[in-house]
């Protein structure tokens, strides 16, 4: 049986206390919410940490409030199952509930949290493997090694942003509240991420994501498409979140288009959004948009399926996603 390495476990009583522990322990401590991402990595010996700071039970991180007219606040420690089933989300922000329902498995959705999902480590088929396997294959930049096995010679890591919820929350113009030793800030979800497989979050290690904030729906409609091998368990090898606001005549007033799992951060394709503005969803413009998105997506060979296929699927699924609004 795979075993966890020994660590110290602390369960702070307040958010403040949690931030304090993270700040004082420096790089030795790590946050754990549901643990469904962290513990497998510890068993693979890619995450080696001395102190685990458990935050799932923190009161400040729990609860879901609001409605589509005022906007929504989702505590970071809400489980994915809670996100799926919460009435306000199911009715108003259905796309978020549907996306959450496609994460992993029912059991994992009962454990994993929305905060953990947003802070999910980037993934790579050379990295999410046991120590012994990585030793045989050769260690890589992201852990224990000094070269990237997907793109040898590269000085950066191309591990893939695999969160199902990040693209959706971006499409819904979500923001997150971060609380750290130097106070708190609210940033758009997009700004949480960097296109770097190792330092994939724009946040300090001691900052805790406490809430996800969604603005009122205000006429936006959104869709999420996830591409993967099986109907369960699997991470996306490509995902598409699209939101549009259409006027009475079906013209697109505004659009947001995000691709997931094509690089180390979710990819917002602004050129495509721009191209959609003022247009009706007709085959011609859809082709243009698909072309733009497809050109922007440059996945590398480090997930299930071949890169070529994943890249080709951008157009196919974007056409289908846009089709839902036509």
């Amino acid at each position: 049986m795979l075993r966890l390495p020994p660590f110290q476990y602390v369960r702070p009583g307040t958010l403040h206390e949690a931030v304090g522990i993270l700040a004082s322990e420096g790089g030795k401590a790590v946050l754990m919410a549901g643990g469904t991402d962290l513990l497998p990595r510890m068993k693979h010996r890619v995450a080696a940490l001395e102190v685990v700071v458990a935050i799932r039970a923190l009161r400040e991180l729990r609860g879901i409030w609001g409605d589509p007219r005022q906007g929504l606040v989702i505590g970071a420690a809400s489980t994915l199952a809670e996100v799926c089933s919460h009435p306000a989300i199911r009715q108003g922000y259905e796309v978020l509930s549907l996306a959450a329902a496609q994460v992993a498995t029912p059991q994992i959705r009962n454990m994993g949290t929305i905060g953990g999902n947003l802070c999910l480590d980037t993934r790579c088929s050379y990295y999410d493997m046991p120590y012994t396997w990585r030793k045989a294959m050769g260690f890589c930049l992201k852990k224990n090694g000094d070269t990237c096995l997907v793109a040898p010679g590269s000085t950066r890591c191309w591990a893939v942003s695999s969160s199902d919820l990040a693209p959706v929350l971006m499409a819904l113009d979500g923001r997150v509240r971060l609380v750290g030793p130097r106070g708190e800030r609210v940033v758009p979800v997009e700004e949480l991420y960097r296109d770097d497989g190792i330092r994939y979050l724009n946040k300090e290690p001691a900052e805790i994501l406490t809430e996800v904030l969604l603005p009122p729906l205000d006429g936006w409609k959104a869709a999420y498409w996830k591409v993967r091998r099986r109907g369960s368990f699997d991470f996306p090898v490509l995902s598409l979140a699209v939101a549009v606001r259409q006027d009475e005549g079906g013209h697109i007033a505004d659009a947001r288009l995000i691709l997931g799992a094509v690089r180390s951060s979710p990819l917002r394709v602004r050129e495509a959004e721009e191209a959609l503005r003022g247009e009706k969803l007709e085959p011609g413009i859809m082709e243009v948009v698909c072309e733009l998105a497809s050109r922007a997506a440059r996945p590398v060979e480090n997930t299930d399926f071949t890169v070529l296929w994943r890249k080709r699927m951008v157009k196919v699924f974007l056409r289908r996603a846009l089709g839902t609004f036509a």
């Binding site: 020994p6 999410d128 396997w133 030793k135 045989a136 099986r230 369960s232 699997d234």
Partner: protein
């Protein structure tokens, strides 16, 4: 026909209650006082010479009780087949694949053992590695084994193929590739060993082959078999993946002997991937047919990528060629097969052992021939089906054969003819048939001994102790044994105490592989029960003054038949018999008839009876993505007799499931010498959401050789599934995918080629230019002997 009480009825499996309450003890569930945990250090290089192993640092880690290397063990190699004794429990000179074990640690807990393993220093001299069939055949350098990289070559010709092709009106050639796949049993392999005073070694293991493990332990540890006891624990899924001898089983035994404490080793999921896999197989087939579709000749070539060790590979190589003639009359048949060594985990038997690969090739190939001839694929097959009670060109004796009925059933149920070539684009149906063994006719080590034995003991309390060396791996052998005995003795399962797979107390059965257990252990149980019944009947008859033949054993009673209503309760009858004869004991054995043909290599393929299946798949293909979804499977299986329909249907459905996985997604590929995705997340096996509706039909042909007429069902129904799906894909979008798994990428590629006006196909481009050795030429059985069925010995 007599009404059965226990046979042919859908009773729950006898171990069902223990399983649904979590009370069955699998190997990893065992805990013994003072037990240590073992971890293996495995090679991280695919091919290298071991220069030096330094265990000093590992030994000095607190909590470590022993560190073992190959040099600490007697210098005996082992291997499941007598001809392939090429493995060491821990490698001494060389490592041959990533995952090959070189050292082992016993420590107070698993974490400590893992730390100690990391402290073992090994210096290697890397050698050039051979990762593909081409590497193995053509790359220069030190071969993997001294004999060279060609492990086995087979070349056989039955009849006269050249003349057969001359007689043909149409000849077609195709090349196919079947990628490797994993067994992926849900239970990770585990073994526990304990060494007790008086030189008694006990090993519990999740093994399909306790008897072979017993023999091997005796050989490699230099201990007489009488000092070793192997207990196979209930197996949490095997599919062939637990049918070999594994390093950890020997290592825990050695460590228990050294430390004097019990030792357990449970493989991690990653390690399970390093045990065995289905052979990746490249195949070329050429068939000649007459205008009316009758086959005149077939030439089949195959190269098996064998991995680093022999395992069952010699047998696998023969199997790739052996069973084509059991479904179709092939008057002239040539088979050339070769297994090569590569630096990858060994290829071994997996559900269908060496036959799903050629079956995929053959059934797709015939579908193409039918298309070329403008013939209905059902009709083409029908024209060529073997007849019951005949012999094939390669001397295999067919007894019962319900293939024609199976074919009819699925064609009708699926409304194949209304759909084939008629469904809207993107949707299609495909057909395939197959046959499989009900147990290998020959044991894997040469002997004339029984293949299965059962012992029954009955005492005055009326309890029946049934012991047999067979192990239940989920297929339901325990239930077959118990229900068979209940049927004959007229008792209930509560009266039977079952003891299985314990070499100290159960009579030998060769193991749970090649679909042999129901057939062979079932026959042995039947014989033992009949003998026990005769014994008790004689005593009761004497006591009651009636003829023994008039007694009926039923409902826990021994009744006087013929209208009389006199009866003894079962317990009374047992008392009478014990008083008369003393301890009541009976044995049953099963030895298959001698069936091998008159040629070298004829030992692989014969079976006392063959099961048959036919399958229709209906699929939907998304032409934009290449994604194939299987909408429904119809499958008919000639089971001989369904001893328990619940168990049989479960086996059929499970086979369909595994065939589906292999057809569409399971791919155990190796990248740079390392298994690409040794994880349950990334090695894709279908979930409940991928499983299509399955309509299964059981065809009962009541085989003369099988227990109550039964034949196998655990492996055969897998075989037609991948080709039926491939053929359905062709029907849906007119592209041929001659390679499994059939991934979306391959489908798209083939569609793209078709759009460009090229051949709409994805598959291997060529077959290596190798000259196989001159074939052994074998005359087919004479027509007069072809219909004869020899009596049981």
């Amino acid at each position: 026909m007599k009404e059965f009480t226990w046979i042919s009825k859908p009773y729950p499996r006898v171990d069902a209650e223990a399983k649904v309450t979590g009370r069955v003890r699998y190997a990893d569930d065992l805990v013994l006082p003072g037990m240590l945990f073992c971890k293996l250090l495995r090679s991280h290089l695919p091919h290298a010479r071991i220069r030096r192993i330094d265990t000093t640092r590992a030994r000095s880690l607190p909590g470590v009780l022993a560190v073992l290397t190959g040099k600490d063990l007697p210098a005996h190699k082992f291997g499941i087949l007598p001809t392939s004794q090429d493995q060491e429990a821990l490698c001494v000179e060389k490592v041959r694949y990533v995952g090959d074990p070189v050292a082992a640690v016993a420590a107070i807990d698993e974490w400590t053992a893992e730390q100690a393993v990391r402290l073992i220093e090994v210096e290697y001299d890397p050698l050039p590695s051979y990762m593909t069939i081409e590497d193995a055949l053509f790359k220069e350098g030190e071969p993997i084994h001294a004999q060279g990289n060609v492990h086995k070559e087979v070349s056989l010709e039955f009849g006269d193929v050249a003349t057969g092709f001359e007689e043909a009106d149409y000849i077609r050639e195709d090349i196919f590739l079947y990628h490797g796949s994993a067994h992926l049993p849900l239970e990770e392999h585990a073994a526990v060993a304990s060494y007790e005073p008086g030189d008694l070694l006990t090993v519990w293991s999740s093994t399909q082959v306790p008897h072979y493990l017993h023999r091997t332990l005796s050989k490699v540890l230099d201990l007489p078999m009488s000092r070793i006891r192997v207990i196979a624990t209930p197996v949490g899924g095997g599919f062939g993946g637990k049918s070999d001898i594994f390093n950890h089983e020997i290592v825990v035994a050695a460590l228990a002997m050294i430390t004097g404490r019990p030792v357990k080793c449970t493989l991690t999921r990653e390690e399970v991937f390093y045990t065995l896999r289905r052979h990746p197989t490249l195949m070329w087939v050429r068939t000649g047919v007459r205008e009316d579709g009758t086959i005149t000749a077939m030439h089949f070539r195959a190269i098996l990528e064998g991995g680093a060790y022999g395992s069952y590979g010699v047998a696998t190589t023969y199997y790739v060629g052996a069973l084509q003639p059991i479904t179709y009359k092939i008057p002239n048949y040539r088979f050339e097969g070769m297994r090569v060594f590569t630096n990858a985990p060994p290829g071994g038997p997996k559900r269908g052992h060496g036959t799903p690969q050629p079956r995929f090739a053959l059934e797709c190939h015939l579908d193409k021939i039918a298309e070329d001839l403008g013939m209905d694929p059902v009709e083409l097959r029908r024209r060529n089906l073997v007849a019951p009670h005949t012999k094939t060109v390669n001397w295999l004796r067919i007894t019962s054969c319900g293939l024609a009925e199976c074919l009819k059933k699925v064609v009708e149920a699926s409304r194949f003819h209304e759909k084939h070539r008629r469904l809207p684009r993107g949707r299609g149906v495909g057909l395939a048939v197959s046959g499989y063994l009900s147990g290998a006719g020959l044991p894997i080590y040469w002997n004339d001994l029984p293949h299965s034995q059962v012992h029954l003991q009955v005492d005055r309390s009326g309890s029946v102790t049934l012991s047999c060396g067979a192990i239940d791996i989920g297929q339901g052998s325990n239930s077959v044994l118990v229900y068979t005995v209940c049927e004959i003795l007229g008792v209930s399962p509560e009266d039977v105490r079952l003891i299985v797979a314990d070499t100290a107390i159960t009579p030998i059965d060769l193991g749970s592989y090649s679909s042999r257990v129901t057939f062979m252990a079932g026959n042995a149980a039947l014989q033992a029960a009949q003998r026990m019944r005769d014994l008790i009947a004689a005593a009761v008859a004497e006591k009651l003054g009636v003829p023994a033949e008039s007694l009926i054993f039923q409902g826990r009673q021994v009744k006087v038949g013929g209208g009389e209503d006199r009866a003894l309760s079962w317990r009374e009858a047992c008392e009478v018999a014990e008083a008369r004869y003393g301890l009541l004991s009976a044995t049953g054995t099963y030895t298959p008839p001698r069936l091998a043909g008159p040629y070298k290599g004829s030992g692989v393929g014969p079976s006392p009876a063959y099961s048959y299946s036919a399958c229709v798949a209906e699929v939907q293909v998304d032409e934009e993505t290449g994604v194939v979804s299987v909408e429904k499977i119809w499958i008919a299986h000639d089971i001989g007799r369904a001893l328990n329909p619940l168990l049989v249907l479960g086996q059929v459905e499970g086979s369909v499931y595994m065939g589906l996985g292999e057809a569409l997604m399971e791919d155990l590929s190796v990248r740079q010498g390392v298994i690409r995705v040794p994880s349950m997340l990334e090695y894709k096996s279908p979930t409940v959401k991928e499983m299509p509706e399955v309509e299964a039909f059981l065809i009962e042909t009541v085989d003369p050789e099988g227990p109550f007429g039964a034949k196998e069902c655990g492996q055969g129904p897998l075989l037609p599934v991948p080709p039926a799906i491939a053929n359905a894909i062709y029907d849906a979008v007119r592209v041929r995918i001659d390679e499994v798994p059939i991934t979306p990428e391959k489908v798209l590629k083939a569609l793209e080629r078709r759009r460009k006006g090229e051949e709409g196909r994805f598959g291997p481009g060529g077959f290596p230019a190798i000259r196989f050795k001159e074939p052994i030429r074998v005359a087919p059985p004479s027509p007069s002997s072809a219909g004869r069925v020899e009596p049981r010995p």
